[in-house]
Every structure is written in structure tokens, then in C-alpha cells.
């Protein structure tokens, strides 16, 4: 890592750590939501950005993890310490099963299969009332208390989310920069060549699919802990499209891009919507502008602009 990257990382870490000391609860909660969305977007980025597999059903993994955690807590009376790993394991298992179905195709067919699978689960969440409470969702949930720390306050939950988000980002970054990550990108760009080099392209994609499901499940846990409520909407198409928007707008295939995309969408959704009634239209315009002027996303686009400006001055 070079000096400027280290400086940027240190500044970002200091800003994130200092936020609760300078901002009110509203902004702290907003930051928690951005962190949760960032983990969700980073998980999808594994598929879309690094794997070249565009999914429109990724909210399924976030939602199922949240539902499983809530259901195990409410219906079976299990504590968070047991419910959380069970929810993660269950969702990862589901990703392993769905991956077998979805990865029979690629491109637009892959997208349609993921959309269909996501919609099946969304329908189940609505109709399987005895388990999911249908349109009423699961309410009355609580946040965990790791090491006896009460996470009900905005600051405590923010730091909890920050730790999990940083750990998740570190793991995803490690994968992206590893040999496996290089092979995954190779399979995205030249699958036929990668096969001819002895790489099992299908297995590489499958493991990535399962891994993306796991990290979406982690974001699902954070989501349900934050809201203390889960509704079928969480695994609906809108949520899947929103996370895809985060990845594409921020810059797919980069580590910072989906985080920036998550921040844009969450801020527009929560902050701007308080002032602008048709905030979704504004979101549409923002997305349109990014696609038109920076088609590879905001982060790569700004980086290119910076290099052009910096290069001219140097």
C-alpha cells in the first residue's frame, strides 16, 4: 500500500471513529445505515464487479438472513449468539443451492434466474403467514448484547456496525486482491481463455456466488438488528435494484465504489426525501447523470478526472 492510500485510509478511519462525537443521533443512525448498505453492496459487487454476473435477486440473501434471525429469536426463543450463526449458515446454504440453479446460465439469463428466485422468496415472505407474519412482518425483535454491551443506543450500535463493516470489507478486499480474486476477474473478462489455462470457471463463479450470499447475510443481520423489524419488502425487487444501483453508480469492480454508491442511495433515501417529495425521481436523475458522464461509476470517473487534472498540473 502506498503512502497516499495509507493516508486516505487513516483519515477515513479517524473520521468514522470521530463521527459519534461530533454528530447527533440522527446522523449517527444514518451512518449506521450507510455502513449496512455498504456491506450489502460490497457483497453484490463480488458478483457484479469482480465476477461479471449481474444479479437482480440479491436482496433475497439479506432478507432471508434477517427473517431467519428474527424467526429463530421470536418463534424458537433462541438467543442472538445462536440465532446469528444459524441465520448465516442457513442463508449461505440457500446461496449454495441457488447458485447451482442460477449458474447454469450467464448474462441476461443469469439475471432473470436470480430475479425469479428472489421473487419466489418475496412471495413466500408475503404468503407464508404462519412463519413470516405476512405483510405485518416480524416485529418485537431486539439487538444483541455482545460482551454485555447494550447496543440500543445510536452510538453503541454505530460502533458495533462499524466493527462488523470494517471486518467484512477487509475480508472482501482480501478476496479481491488474492489469487482467487485475480482468477475471478479473469473469468469475468475471458472465460474461454481461463478454461484453456486450466481454471474451473464454473467453480470459481459458484464459490463467489456463495461468498456473496454469505456477506449479504451478514448485512441482513445488521439490517434486522438496526430496524428490530423485518418485512417482505426487504427481500423484494426494489431492494435488489437499489443495491445494484449502489454498485453501478459507485463503480463496480472497485472496493470504494459500492461504499460511495451506498452512501449516495441511503442519503438520498433518508435525508433528501425529507425535503424533496419525489426523491426517487432525483435518484433516477443522479443515476442517469452518472451513467451518462461516468459510465464506469462515480469513483473510477472521479479518479480519471483527478488524474487528468493532476497530470496537467504536474
Amino acid at each position: 500500500m502506498n503512502r497516499s492510500a495509507l493516508f486516505t485510509l487513516a483519515t477515513a478511519a479517524a473520521a468514522l471513529a470521530a463521527l459519534p462525537f461530533v454528530a447527533g443521533d440522527y446522523y449517527i443512525n444514518l451512518a449506521s445505515q450507510i455502513l449496512i448498505a455498504a456491506v450489502f453492496a460490497l457483497s453484490l459487487n463480488l458478483l457484479v464487479g469482480y465476477g461479471g454476473l449481474t444479479s437482480l435477486g440479491h436482496a433475497a440473501y439479506m432478507g432471508v438472513s434477517a427473517y431467519l434471525s428474527g424467526w429463530l429469536y421470536l418463534k424458537l426463543g433462541l438467543g442472538h449468539l445462536i440465532a446469528a450463526p444459524l441465520a448465516l449458515a442457513g442463508t449461505t446454504l440457500m446461496a449454495a443451492l441457488f447458485g447451482l440453479i442460477a449458474l447454469r446460465a450467464s448474462g441476461i439469463s443469469f439475471l432473470m434466474i436470480t430475479l425469479a428466485l428472489g421473487q419466489v422468496l418475496w412471495g413466500l415472505a408475503f404468503r407464508w403467514v404462519s412463519v413470516t407474519n405476512g405483510d405485518n412482518g416480524l416485529s418485537g425483535l431486539t439487538r444483541p448484547m455482545p460482551f454485555g454491551i447494550d447496543l440500543d443506543g445510536a452510538t453503541a450500535f454505530y460502533f458495533f456496525t462499524l466493527v462488523i463493516s470494517v471486518a467484512s470489507t477487509a475480508c472482501i478486499a482480501a478476496l479481491a486482491h488474492s489469487a482467487f480474486g485475480a482468477v475471478l476477474r479473469g473469468a469475468r473478462d475471458q472465460p474461454r481463455r481461463m478454461l484453456a489455462l486450466g481454471h474451473n470457471v464454473w467453480l470459481v463463479r459458484y464459490l463467489t456466488f456463495v461468498s456473496a450470499g454469505f456477506w449479504a447475510a451478514v448485512s441482513g443481520l445488521l439490517y434486522v438488528y438496526y430496524h428490530k423489524f423485518i418485512h417482505p419488502q426487504a427481500l423484494g425487487l426494489t431492494n435488489s435494484a437499489e443495491v445494484l444501483l449502489m454498485v453501478i453508480a459507485g463503480g463496480s469492480g472497485t472496493l470504494v465504489g459500492p461504499v460511495v454508491g451506498a452512501a449516495i442511495v441511503v442519503l438520498l433515501k433518508n435525508y433528501v426525501s425529507a425535503f424533496v417529495e419525489r426523491w426517487t425521481m432525483l435518484l433516477g436523475f443522479v443515476f442517469l447523470a452518472i451513467v451518462l458522464f461516468m459510465p464506469d461509476g462515480l469513483v473510477p470517473g472521479l479518479k480519471r478526472l483527478w488524474l487528468r487534472f493532476y497530470g496537467r498540473r504536474a
Binding site: A174, L175, H177, S178, A179, F180, G181, A182, V183, G186, D189, Q190, R192, R193, M194, L195, A196, L197, G198, H199, N200, V201, S211
Partner: protein, 246 residues
């Protein structure tokens, strides 16, 4: 001498159109074999069947004595098969060294490592530099592939294949689109391929190809119509009729 490649009764049709019809071929280990034929003769289809890019409708493909017709492409590569493509398929945004590293990873169990940074694998990059040195590209190793010439890209393709230390190398028109100087460079490179690597090559540049080949197979409409030594095939009337011209 053992056989590196043995094909029996291999057939492949696309819809109702036969691209490969009952092809049988035996290539000895260490041999230099040239596959020739007019456009549409089924040469690349034959390569794609050997590598597993295409599934055969019928027939058998034995690689180093092992039946491979049901194996996936990557499994065949692990048996010792390597190839280059007619149309260059590399990774233009990455450096030459990274392209070769992807090739080295293909046969290494470390390709599954999702934790250790690839940049920290100095051993892999050193090997990649060494392989690029053998094709005269060590100085350009860290340049993005998009910034090198077409002829250099062809050499990278061959470097990637050789990096895997294959037992059987399939070269699909390696000289296509090259200048005279580039052809000479590549010709020298091909001549330097160690004898323990069996080479099967498709090539239209007969001057270069004939000097390289020990045995030649002529394909026409997906069928083997002439096969033999260089002199036998060149002198054969069918070769003149369908390929070389009068």
C-alpha cells in the same frame, strides 16, 4: 514411441452441417504436426474438440493414453494440454507478467487462495518474468498488454502456453496477421520449443509451416483426406487440388 494424441472416429455437426466427420489422427510424443486445409475445413473445430471447448457427437480423444472425450476443458489442461487461439484472447488491461501469472495459477493449487495478496507472490511474478524472457519480452513485462504490438501479444500467448510446461501444445494460426519480421521472430521461437513438448499447429503460411512440420494432415469438409510426411503430403495430387492449387 508413445502417442501424445490419439483421435478415433471423431464427429461433430452444427445442426445438420457436419464440421468434423469421422476424423482419426495419431500424433506421436514430441512430434511436430501441421494441420492444413482450406477455410471451413474444420481445423479450428478439431482443435476445439480436442480442448473440450466443443463436445463431440461421437468418437474418442485420448490424451497421453487417457480417454479425455468426457473431460472438461480445464481437466484436459491439467493432463498437459495447452493451446493458443486464432483470435488473441488475453487480458489487455493487465500487465504481460500478470497475464502469465494467470497461466501459472491455472495449474497451481494456490489459485484457490482467497486471503493472501497475489502481489505478495513474488515467486509467481519471478517465474512469469523468466517465461517472458524466453520469448524476448522480459523488458516489457510490467507494461499493460494493450500497449504492446500485435506480434508481441502473439508471443505472450505462446509464453502463457509454455509457462504451463505442457506435454501437448496446440497452436491455432500463430503467424496470422504478423509482419515479415514478426514472423521470423516467432518462427525462431517455435523452433526453440523443447522436443518433449508435442506441437500440433494450424497454419496457412506454408513456407513457415512446412519448415516446422514433420507430418502433415490435410482436412477438407471436416474429413482427413491426406496424411503423411511433409514430402508425401505436398506431392499428393489431392493436396494440390483442394489446398495448394496447381
Amino acid at each position: 514411441m508413445s502417442l501424445a494424441l490419439e483421435i478415433r472416429g471423431l464427429s461433430k455437426s452444427f445442426g445438420g452441417l457436419p464440421a468434423t466427420s469421422d476424423v482419426s489422427l495419431a500424433v506421436q510424443a514430441g512430434e511436430r504436426r501441421l494441420i492444413i486445409g482450406p477455410n471451413g475445413a474444420g481445423k479450428t473445430t478439431l482443435f476445439n474438440l480436442i480442448t473440450g471447448d466443443l463436445r463431440a457427437d461421437a468418437g474418442s480423444i485420448r490424451l497421453f493414453g487417457e480417454e479425455a472425450v468426457r473431460l472438461r476443458t480445464d481437466q484436459r489442461v491439467h493432463l498437459g494440454l495447452a493451446r493458443t487461439f486464432q483470435v488473441i484472447t488475453l487480458f489487455p488491461r493487465d500487465s504481460l507478467a500478470h497475464n502469465v501469472v494467470l497461466s501459472l495459477l491455472g495449474l497451481s493449487t494456490s489459485r484457490w487462495n482467497a486471503l493472501r495478496p497475489l502481489a505478495a507472490r513474488r515467486d509467481l511474478y519471478e517465474r512469469a518474468h523468466a517465461v517472458l524472457d524466453t520469448v524476448g519480452l522480459a523488458a516489457a513485462a510490467e507494461r499493460p498488454l494493450a500497449q504492446v504490438s500485435y506480434g508481441e501479444k502473439r508471443r505472450v500467448e505462446i509464453a502463457m502456453a509454455l509457462a504451463q510446461r505442457p506435454k501437448l501444445l496446440l497452436l491455432d494460426e500463430p503467424l496470422a496477421g504478423l509482419s515479415k519480421e514478426e514472423r521470423l521472430t516467432l518462427q525462431t521461437l517455435l523452433a526453440a520449443i523443447p522436443r518433449d513438448i508435442t506441437v500440433v499447429m494450424i497454419e496457412h503460411d506454408m513456407d513457415t509451416a512446412l519448415s516446422f512440420a514433420e507430418r502433415i494432415t490435410l482436412l477438407h469438409y471436416g474429413k482427413v483426406i491426406v496424411e503423411g510426411s511433409r514430402a508425401e503430403v505436398v506431392a499428393h495430387p489431392r493436396t494440390r487440388e483442394v489446398y495448394l492449387g496447381a
